[in-house]
């Protein structure tokens, strides 16, 4: 009886988040996000540009790639709907609210991929709260933490500069990519994640839940 009640109460929870964490890795949709910020301190940091790209089971859908410069001066809601963005508008920048609206549904339906998740998540959290969006539950993975996990098997103290995005990519034989553009970094991060999953040998039977020991996975509430 108690079990039934328990299941009933938490069905909603399970149907939104548990499948992502318990589904075979090959079925999980990932969305790599990168924010370019005005500061490394999440309290003051504002988003200047944002890029994301989606993929699953090693396959990156290039048509899902999104990039936008965020104009903080832009009055909210004044730029065209995201789908109709023209290059001119993108260059001028679009309003943060429009971008977040466009991103919002994807946050809960994908596992988010970051290189150094804590800063970007803190900023997203602040922004979503400020925009009075509903609270959203997310699952994420952090390629930086995964690199730390792997490196700690060999080093007790991590070598200087060994967990930057480009250093991590180099270790896994990924080609050099231009850095510090939000979309390029998001794409580079997603490639790195897929390479890390392969390195770990986790893809075949594993799910994200089984990677908890790496400290590279997490769940969080935004807003």
């Amino acid at each position: 009886m108690l079990t039934t009640l328990w299941n009933y109460l938490f069905r909603g929870w399970k149907s939104t988040r548990a499948p992502l964490f318990e589904a075979p890795l090959s079925h999980v949709p990932f969305l790599a996000i990168d924010l370019e910020l005005t500061s490394l301190d999440s309290n003051n940091a504002e988003i200047t540009s944002i890029g994301w790209v989606a993929g699953s089971h090693g396959k990156i859908d290039l048509n899902s790639a999104f990039y936008c410069v965020v104009d903080t001066q832009q009055p909210l809601g004044q730029s065209p709907v995201i789908h109709g963005l023209t290059p001119e508008v993108l260059r001028e920048g679009c309003a943060l609210e429009d971008v977040i609206n466009h991103l919002f549904d994807k946050l809960s339906t994908n596992v988010l991929v970051f290189h150094n998740a804590s800063l970007d998540l803190a900023v997203l959290n602040k922004v979503i709260a400020r925009l009075s969006k509903p609270r959203v539950e997310i699952c994420f993975v952090d390629t930086l933490q995964m690199a730390v996990y792997q490196l700690k098997k060999r080093h007790s103290v991590l070598p200087e500069g060994s967990v930057t995005l480009s250093a991590c990519r180099k270790r896994l034989m990924l080609p050099v990519a231009p850095a510090h553009n939000a979309l390029d970094d998001a794409l580079a991060t997603l490639q790195l994640w897929f390479a890390q999953v392969h390195e770990l040998g986790a893809s075949r039977h594993g799910c994200l839940k089984k990677l908890r020991h790496t400290r590279a996975t997490g769940r969080s509430n935004l807003g």
Binding site: H57, G58, I60
Partner: protein
Amino acid sequence: MAAIAQQVSDFLAASAPFDSLSEAVRARLLKGAELIYLSDDNANAINEGPMALYLIQSGQFSVIDSADAQRHVSEGDYFGYPAILENTVYPVSIHIENPGLIFRFTAEVFSELLTIPQVHRFFQGLRSNALHNQAAKDSHSMWLYKRLEDVVTREPIHVDMATTIQQAALKMSSERVSSLIITEKGKLVGIVTDRDLRTRVVAKGLSYTQAIHSIMTPSPTTVSHQHTVFDALSVMTEKNLHHLPVVDKQGVSPVGMVTATDMVREQRGNVLFIIGELAKAESLYALTRLAWQLPHYFSRHAKRVGDFDIAGKVLSQATDIMTRKLITFYQQAHGKAPMMFAWLVYGSQAREDQTMGSDQDNGLLLASEPNSSQAAYFAAMSEYVCQGLAKCGIRLCDGNIMASNPELRLSIDQAIEQARGWVNAPTKDAIMHFNIFLDVRCAAGDSSLFKRMQKARSPLLAQSLFLAALARHTNDLAIPLSLFQTFTYEKGRELKDTIDLKTRAVALVNNIARIYALAAGVHTPSTLARLASLPANVGLAKEDANNLRDIWLFLNRLRWRHQLLNKVTDNAVSISTLSSIEKHQLKASFKAIDRAKQAMVVKFSGGVG
């Protein structure tokens, strides 16, 4: 509209054939495209995936995507296109050696882009293993490599030496020619030009009824119809001739005439003019002054690929002329030689593929063994010529392969004996030592002496055991590609991505051409001439010979461009400086060289590598 990451557009912009398209057209590729991190985990994404074009950005894979054998592929390579190209179904199977990133473009957009001719040509070429490279076809200079017998088609206009001056002039008028060959019993004995009629007949008030032989230039300079247009042009430039009779192999019967007007019509570039300038030099000082202009001259005038194609020939001709000049200067000061001799040149100068870095390789062939005073004369002459060449910028040979080395001043009997020694003991070390002497040409002195020596040597050098040893030696030289068809670079260089195109590739083509030429008794040392004159039965198909010719031209263009652009004399070409299509061409060339090498080994050493 989806955004395009910089790394994606950069990579596509550097991938032939798409690099030649506009950015907007290139972006069409990305419709429905995926970038896949391909590992053992998801290889079935390919094996079970839709028909598509794949382009590898990183990693190493073995694929079967057609009825052909498995291919090893890596960065920059494509697969999956055969099915789309041929509008059929080939299941793709892939084996991952090293995981990496590959692009998947939909069959729809690829088919759409295949309507662009250069894209279609590129993939068609990949499919047929072609070189994407028709070096000979797109050269402005290939006519210079043509043999005179193929070019001179008009029967020579000639009269017997007993003909009167007036009859001869009438013949010239009716045939509309400016020069006339004079024969005696069908053999060439002289030449008369418009100018001779003016200066030797009209100006002197000579009777028109006199026989033509009284005013002809007797025993004119001639050129054999087996030589190339370039050879004819060089002779005419060096000797300042406007009319050059072409004669048959025996050098007696006229078969045609080439004129300066014909040449001017064809030759628009001016890399050749330096030869005329060198020929005018009257002293060692004047000669060296001109010779030092050569590098400057080449970098200023050699701009088009056609110029690169003849640059080696021009440089070799220039070195020949310097040699002849120096011998003349020496003889003017010290008297005529005490016996017949031939000044032989070896290696790149013999093949006429010198580059700026080539050093001198030469020797002397003497009619008989000299006594001590004769020996002293030739020693002093050789020293003068070799030092003179060095002053002209043709480096002394580190390996001491120079006429100034007494071991390289051989009598004809000694030279034949030496060849017998090579044939009897073709060890690896011996081949390294004597390989260079197998490309030889007479640059000055008595060429009949040289021909006698060649004739005696030819059957020795065609012996099958000897050829087998040469073939095995060449087989030991590996092309600079790894198993996965990635370039393997020279170690210990300042730049990390260089390949020495001379030792790694050109030398292989030269070796292959040489071995077939020795087998067939073809005497010419030039690689292109060898490939062009191999008889059909020697075992190299015409198509393969033409392929090797195109490869040879392509490789030489790359190294000349490298030397002239970077003002260097080495052949270490940096691969990152090549365009994407050139990288594909270079890979295809290396693979073709490798196939030609394998075929040669099978032919000459019974497959025993």
